[in-house]
């Protein structure tokens, strides 16, 4: 089963519910596999850039949600160690 999704701007991740599956994978617009889960968890979370993707699974794909990571868990902006914080 496949499903088209679009990660909106301002969102960090997509959560995909599924059942009866052995894998869930996500393909980008060019067909490249950018995420794969080989576990039977009832849902998976993929950290993705905004854009269009295809969710593919050998099971049933359920609800798709988008969200933001806890600020402390977001990928940090590049940090320049040569510039210490201002005192």
């Amino acid at each position: 089963m496949s499903k088209q999704i679009t990660v909106p701007k301002g969102k960090d991740y997509v959560s995909i519910a599924a059942s009866g599956h052995k894998y869930i994978r996500i393909l980008d617009a060019e067909g490249n596999e950018v995420f794969r889960s080989d576990s039977p968890a009832e849902s998976v979370t993929a950290v993705l850039e905004p854009g269009s993707y295809t969710v593919d699974s050998d099971g049933k794909i359920g609800k798709v949600d988008y969200g933001n990571l806890d600020a402390r868990l977001r990928a940090p902006r590049p940090a320049d160690a040569s510039k210490p914080p201002a005192q």
Binding site: E33, A41, V44, L73
Partner: protein, 147 residues
């Protein structure tokens, strides 16, 4: 080239602490040779369970194509595993894995734009692991695809 970085199992005596009746604060444990940790009975609003970090060895020039993590996530917890690169004094994540559903996980995340070209003379690679929540979580293996 696949580089597998195995994590160590939790010793049975430590696991006993997790299952005891009295709460104990075990924010993190880091074991030599691998990284394996849990958090238990602490306020997740104030603390992150920092699993630690490990270096990813490589030689010459490689293209970092994907990053895979396996393990177990306890109920009520979130495991975040990030592969980061360093160039000069600047670093940033090139692949992130987040697991927030209880159960065993085996997740592979591709590095954006077809991969990150890393040169041993100019770059370093490291993995950072964080667990948030109050469940027992485990990272059993970290695998980086370097082609």
């Amino acid at each position: 080239m696949l580089v597998s970085i195995p994590a160590n199992p939790v010793p049975s005596d430590l696991y006993h602490l997790y299952t005891s009746s009295s709460p104990k604060w075990l924010p993190w444990y880091i074991w030599g040779g691998g990284v394996y940790a849990t958090s238990y009975s602490y306020n997740p609003a104030n603390f992150l369970g920092y699993f630690g970090s490990v270096s990813v060895p490589f030689e010459d020039t490689v293209r970092v194509k994907s990053f895979r993590a396996t393990g177990y996530c306890g109920a009520g917890s979130t495991v975040t595993v990030r592969l980061s690169q360093r160039t000069g004094n600047v670093s940033g994540a090139i692949a992130s894995i987040v697991v927030n559903v209880a159960g065993y996980f085996d997740v592979t995340q591709a590095v954006a734009a077809g991969g990150f070209l890393a040169s041993a003379s100019d770059n370093s690679l490291a993995i950072e692991m964080i667990e948030q929540g109050q469940g027992i979580c485990t990272v059993t293996a970290l695998i980086v695809d370097l082609s």
